[in-house]
């Protein structure tokens, strides 16, 4: 018996050892500032998310061109899907043939930074690094070292129908009380004869929204006591926020309560909703769509609500600061070149080009500039009052397990009371973050 165990252990060691013999060498921070980079004949591989492909490919191409001109190295960009990119990334980073630069959502980043997936970077080499948005830069930091670079941010705003507001004789609300009053007025005026009408369209599984309501009431998702995380959604402030959000859903929304926010712009474009809580770019997406969604240069086709949509900061509700970061893989063979490419892709020139795409820049000094770009005023304002998810290594697991979505669906379908659902979510969050 003992013999057999020994064999099994030896076998396992061989298997794992063999798996580990990739091209990883323990390299610390890459020192690239001193020497001029010569990348002739080299090609770096960059993994960006699909947004760059569909919305700002020319920004990527411009950065590539400048990078190649400076270093002589080539760039291959591969675009990844949000739905399954982490599975692929995990497998790839376990092997030896890794991408040199990887984009991750800012809430996904901590897990990878903690797990040693990314190489340390010299923060000072990146433009505007002194002013990086905290919601983006926070996940990049570990033990006072920097492991990734903020790429772009997004904030959520109130998007509303100007024609319906005018007809009801109301203006964009400046307080939460005005918001509900406006919703009441719009509902009274438009709801008759249409059971699709929503004074405020709010899908039930939209957790970025619901948590904004929680933070608005002074609540939070979880807090750290010593080295243990405690779920705090069942705290009185958080419960008040959840209740207020649930009241909004039940009172003013229509549609499938189990949906998330992914097609809210398309639903709003049907002309049956007066308000929704969306990303800056959704102001445009609700009004016109590309004739060919696969071709960013194709003509725009107007929807039913074209020209009748405006955005304002959501009164009394802080925005979640979403966004993306770029890291250099710890196993990359071309770390200096990879860092150099990130430098070009996140410099002021590239960031300014991004502003025109209705996303927010990575630094506060650029935020003021963003506010002057038409269409970005509301989001730039919203970004100034923002919240971020708990900075825990395993936060991404909470998202992956859809704990918050499940809690919200249980609340809006009436399966559980707000308090019961929140207590359940706290338990799951604690299990995950401390596990």
């Amino acid at each position: 018996m003992r013999h057999r165990i020994a064999i099994a252990a030896a076998l396992a060691a061989t298997l794992l050892g063999a798996a580990a013999c990739g091209g990883s060498d323990d390299s610390g921070a890459n020192d690239t500032s001193a020497q001029a980079l010569d990348g002739k004949g080299k090609t770096i591989k960059v993994w960006l998310m699909v947004d760059a492909q569909s919305s700002w490919k020319e920004v990527v191409e411009d950065a590539n061109a400048r990078f190649t001109a400076a270093t002589g190295a080539n760039v291959t960009v591969e675009y990844q899907q949000w739905a399954n990119h982490l599975t692929k990334l995990d497998a790839t980073l376990a092997g030896s043939d890794v991408p040199d630069v990887v984009e991750l959502g800012n809430t996904e980043m901590p897990k990878y930074v903690f797990s040693g997936a990314f190489a340390e970077l010299d923060k000072g080499r990146f433009e505007n690094s002194a002013n990086w948005l905290q919601g983006l830069a926070g996940p990049c930091e570990l033990d006072a070292k920097t492991y990734c670079v903020p790429y772009y941010a997004g904030a959520r705003v109130l998007i509303y129908r100007t024609d319906l507001f005018d007809a009801a004789g109301i203006k964009a609300p400046t307080s939460y009380a005005e918001l509900t009053a406006a919703a009441d007025a719009l509902k009274a005026k438009n709801a008759a004869g249409s059971n699709k009408f929503a004074a405020f369209y709010m899908p039930g599984a939209y957790w970025y929204a619901a948590m904004s309501w929680v933070y608005a009431e002074g609540g939070q998702i979880a807090k750290k006591d010593g080295d243990k995380w405690t779920g705090t959604l069942a705290d009185p402030q958080a419960l008040a926020g959840l209740q207020k959000w649930a009241d909004l859903v039940k009172g003013y929304s229509s549609g499938d309560v189990t949906k998330d926010e992914s097609d809210q712009a398309a639903i709003f474009a049907q002309g049956q909703s007066a308000m929704f809580y969306g990303n800056g770019w959704e102001v445009g997406a609700a009004q016109e769509q590309r004739k060919d969604p696969n071709d960013p240069n194709s003509e725009l086709v107007a929807t039913k609500v074209k020209g009748k949509v405006a955005a304002a900061p959501m009164p009394g509700i802080p925005s979640f600061l979403g966004g993306s970061n770029l890291g250099v893989a710890a196993k990359s063979q071309n770390q200096p070149l990879a860092a150099e490419w990130i430098k070009y892709f996140t410099d002021t020139k590239a960031q300014e080009a991004l502003l025109a795409k209705a996303v927010l820049p990575n630094a506060t000094n650029l935020l003021d500039k963003a506010a002057t770009v038409k269409g970005n005023e509301a989001t730039a304002l919203a970004a100034k009052s923002s919240w971020f998810v708990p900075m825990a290594e395993k936060w991404a697991d909470v998202e992956k397990a859809a704990v918050l979505q499940q809690m919200l669906r249980d609340i809006v379908t009436g399966k559980k009371s707000v308090a019961d659902a929140a207590a359940w979510a706290d338990g799951e969050i604690e299990k995950t973050l401390n596990g």
Partner: protein, 326 residues
């Protein structure tokens, strides 16, 4: 050729399982050299071992370790934890809920699929040629549609806002289905998923069983009709016994496939299935890749295989019985 006459005159093997020639056949077989079959099976064994041995071994090893993302990236050996993962999984009420749900879905969906598939196969024999061609073409289309796409089609059709199903039901006077969510109530959600799985599974079953039916000698059936047997009797005493090996095989396969239900749930629930929609496959995947609990995921997979083996024991026995008859 003599060979031509023998299948019609000799009774098909399954009907007379204990013909006296069985022992002689045994004796004759035993005299055959042993290396021919091994030589024939060798390429299969080499391929299976070459590609699956390492991943399977790794899965097994992992289920006794506690592997985290950092071990994966660095290649360091994760700590050994003995049976901890198994204890954790097996004492988790959520896991047993998932097992029960998966089992119920498998039984219900396979039963419906097999009955409908056999019905369609029999129907194909009764209809006129034109209708049969239409049926075949319709089924070929359904069969050719990738699982990924068919799941998206169903998701699209039952969408609460843009879907055709709610719109169509809404046209019935006095019924308001405008904002009806098919997934708020898990029972309804599972009806949608089961419909999708059965719909997509029928072409394979019907066409396979129909191919099997054409192997039922026409004389046998005509003889049965002449003897005054009702269609039901013909089905029970002649057709089903002959089809039995095929039915056992397709049932086995359907059980394996449906028990491993993944893509449909994954797509229909937007790659984030709620607890009420988790099956063993999605649950293991969520643990392993969603939460990077690779060891828990492996343990769940190992338990799944063991459970399946238990479930399949019955069918395996059937297979061996049929194998003996062969």
């Amino acid at each position: 050729m003599h060979a031509v006459d023998s299948p019609a005159t000799a009774p098909p093997a399954p009907i007379a399982p204990s013909t006296p020639d069985k022992p002689t056949a045994r004796v004759r077989r035993r005299r055959r050299p042993q290396w021919t079959p091994l030589f024939l099976a060798l390429p299969t064994l080499v391929l299976l071992a070459g590609l699956l041995a390492y991943p399977l071994g790794r899965m097994l090893v992992l289920s006794f370790q506690d592997m985290q993302l950092r071990h994966l990236f660095s290649g360091a050996t994760p700590p050994w934890v003995g049976f901890d993962n198994f204890t954790q999984v097996l004492t988790d009420g959520v896991f047993w809920g998932v097992v029960r749900r998966t089992a119920i879905f498998t039984v219900v969906s396979v039963a419906i699929s097999i009955v409908l598939g056999l019905g369609v196969a029999l129907l194909m024999q009764r209809v006129s040629n034109g209708v049969r061609v239409a049926m075949v073409i319709a089924m070929m289309f359904v069969w050719a549609i990738p699982q990924l796409v068919s799941a998206q089609i169903f998701k699209w059709m039952v969408d609460a806002d843009f879907g055709v199903l709610n719109y169509a039901i809404d046209q019935i006077p006095g019924v308001d289905f405008t904002n009806h969510s098919w997934f708020a109530d898990p029972t309804q959600g599972w009806i949608v998923i089961t419909t999708l799985v059965v719909w997509a599974g029928i072409p394979f079953l019907a066409i396979t069983l129909h191919a099997g039916l054409t192997q039922v000698p026409q004389d046998l059936r005509e003889a049965a009709l002449v003897d005054g047997a009702s269609p039901w009797q013909t089905l029970r005493t002649i057709i089903l016994p002959i089809l039995r090996p095929l039915i056992v095989i397709v049932t086995t396969l359907s059980v394996i496939w449906n028990f491993g239900l993944f893509t449909q749930v994954w797509v229909v629930r937007d790659s984030k299935p709620e607890q009420e929609y988790q099956t063993l496959a999605t649950y293991a995947f969520t643990q392993a890749f969603g939460r990077n609990e690779y060891s828990l995921g492996s343990a769940i997979s190992v338990i799944t295989v063991i459970l399946m083996l238990g479930v399949m024991a019955f069918y395996v026995r059937q297979m061996f019985q049929i194998g003996d008859v062969d």
